[in-house]
């Protein structure tokens, strides 16, 4: 976790007392390939099908439980 005193640091605003702001610089970041795949149409068409199928199975599982 990266914690900084940041108020007024970037915006140039009147400084105020600010506590811990996590600038998230040590968080997991996607690679360029991952970013590319997120909007790559053939892959996203497959994901569209796959996510919908997962949601339908989820609904089906609920109905099975509530019979």
């Amino acid at each position: 976790m990266s914690v900084q005193q940041v108020d007024g640091w970037k915006s140039g605003k009147e400084s105020a007392t600010v506590g811990e702001i996590n600038t998230n610089v040590y968080a997991t970041q996607p690679t360029r390939f991952t970013l590319f795949m997120r909007t790559f149409l053939p892959w996203q068409l497959w994901r569209f099908f796959s996510i919908n199928l997962k949601m339908i199975l989820l609904i089906g599982r609920e109905k099975h439980l509530h019979k």
Binding site: V6, D7, K10, S11, G12, K13, E14, A16, T17, V18, G19, E20, I21, N22, T23, N24, V25, A27, T28, Q29, P30, M37, R38, T39, L41, W43, Q44, L45, R47, F48, I51, N52, K54, M55, L57, L58, I59, R61, E62, L65, H66
Partner: protein, 484 residues
């Protein structure tokens, strides 16, 4: 002939009324009481709040839809339940306040055989000084609020185009808020729109939340299987923010807001403040303040409602520590234990306890996410309650139908950029919503159905869901084929 009265025309109430009208023949009456004249598909208020949609695209008038369906609609506010009737009659009734054009507010009794309380939440802006529209922050809870938020956002964008630097604070406006998912969706969409307007370099965007960790979302977080790892939603959510250079403040209870300044206490007990140009902070929820009276006119509100105003149902409300919470504590049928012809659906029922682990600051301030009840479970609960009542009305024998949040899954698609080619969304499914550590000892949930990923496909699904659910809510042909 039976009369079923549904209080509220949100996702749970509208779903319940629509199914009841389908399952009961016309000798029975279905009455919907709502102070709102419109149905609002709340999840799309996120887009409305950034100027990407209009009010007409996320809401529609209820009266014509109900008139066509054969549902009686009373635009009024329910104020009291008399489950034992009055001194003159044992027939139970609700009292509603109806505004007659050109006259004062009139109080009208509406008798019922079965009652569904689906009144949703009271948006409790008053819990934090200075919070809410008309004060110092904006909200996206209603179409009106979201329209105001969009105006403020677009005005700041114009200022930034002239060279101004602005700070946006988005999140929760109190230590006991829920719906962090909506605030998260708003902040990533706001950041995307800043980029679309070419002013991202002039903005600081901060996500301020009462969650113990990012990705808690009021459901104690979740674990998802992805790319060879079982990853907590904390990592997933932090990554989404990091990638967009959105900073975050967690474990915060906002206690006061002044013009351009938010004052908050942290779980460590520290007091801080932060300046802002625009703040979209969600309020905590409470019950709408319905009262209840017995036949003699004595108030019995505490018998039907929890102290937070939500209705008590078939849950285990015994006070116990987090370690002893069980999935079985959660209600299954949503039937009122004292008056079996009353049910509560959607946000109106009182959860037995939060889902997330509770935390309190050294000053005694509770700071943690309270239990969410999103659209999918609310609609499912509405349908199940309607099924139970329809069975009772038609004389079908058998137990009530059930839909525990510890047996229900939820699909959540959080848009993170509205563009059919460049947009993305975080698509999540969890099963069950309330973790069940007896069935799934290690992670509390079934990892086969608990998933999360980001991509353009999620945005397409979000857009399709918007049109599909509005089609369903308008009760157009085939609406029943669309699942909740």
């Amino acid at each position: 002939m039976s009369r079923v009265v549904v209080l509220g025309a949100g996702i749970a109430g509208h779903t319940a009324a629509s199914y009841l009208r389908t399952w009961l023949d016309k000798t029975h009456e279905v009455v919907v009481v709502s102070p709102q004249s419109n149905y609002n598909w709340v999840p799309s208020n996120i887009w409305l709040g950034l100027g990407l949609m209009t009010e007409e695209q996320v809401a529609f008038p209820l009266a014509p839809v109900y008139s066509k369906a054969g549902i009686r609609f009373e635009q009024a506010r329910a104020v009291a339940i008399h489950p034992e009737g009055s001194a003159d009659s044992a027939a139970p009734y609700v009292v509603v306040e109806k505004r007659i054009p050109g006259q004062s507010v009139e109080r009208i009794p509406i008798p019922y055989d079965y009652l569904i309380n689906a009144t949703g939440p009271k948006l409790n802006f008053a819990a934090t000084e200075g919070l809410g529209p008309g004060k110092h922050t904006v909200s996206v809870c209603t179409p009106d609020h979201a329209t105001e938020a969009a105006k403020e956002f677009l005005a700041l964008v114009e200022r930034m185009k002239q060279g101004a630097r602005c700070r946006f604070v988005v999140g929760t406006g109190h230590g006991q808020c829920t719906c962090q998912g909506a605030a998260f969706e708003y902040v990533v969409n706001l950041e995307f729109e800043l980029r679309q307007h070419g002013v991202r370099d002039k903005a600081e965007v901060i996500f301020l939340t009462n969650e113990y960790e990012l990705g808690d979302f009021g459901m104690d977080g979740a674990f998802i299987r992805r790319n060879g790892y079982i990853t907590p939603t904390n990592i997933f959510t932090e990554s989404v923010l990091a990638e967009r250079d959105i900073w975050s403040i967690t474990r915060a209870h906002v206690r006061k807001i002044e013009k351009g300044r938010v004052f908050y206490e942290t779980l460590a007990g520290e007091e801080h403040e932060l300046t802002f140009d625009m703040a979209m902070l969600l309020p905590p929820f409470a019950g709408v303040g319905l009262q209840a009276f017995d036949r003699a006119g004595e108030e019995i509100t505490a018998k039907l409602f929890a102290p937070n105003g939500f209705m008590k149902v078939d849950a285990d409300y015994t006070q116990k520590p987090y370690e002893q919470w069980k999935a079985a504590d959660w209600p299954r049928t949503y039937q009122c234990p004292t008056y079996p012809n009353i049910f509560a659906a959607g946000i109106a029922f009182a959860p037995p306890h939060p889902i997330s682990r509770p935390h309190t600051s050294p000053k005694g301030t509770p700071i943690f996410a309270t239990a969410p009840r999103t659209g999918m479970p609310s609609a499912t609960i509405g349908r199940v309650v309607a099924r139970s009542i329809a069975d009772k009305v038609t004389g079908k024998e058998g137990p009530l139908h059930a839909a525990s949040m510890a047996e229900l899954g939820a699909a959540c698609v959080a848009s993170s950029g509205s563009s059919l080619l460049k947009g993305t969304a975080a698509s999540m499914t969890v099963f069950p919503i309330v973790p069940d550590y007896e069935r799934y000892p290690k992670y509390g949930r079934d990892l086969k159905y608990t998933t999360g990923e980001i991509g353009l496909a999620g945005h397409w699904i979000k857009v399709i869901l918007h049109y599909m659910f509005l089609y369903k809510a308008r009760l157009h042909p085939g609406w029943r084929a669309i699942p909740e």
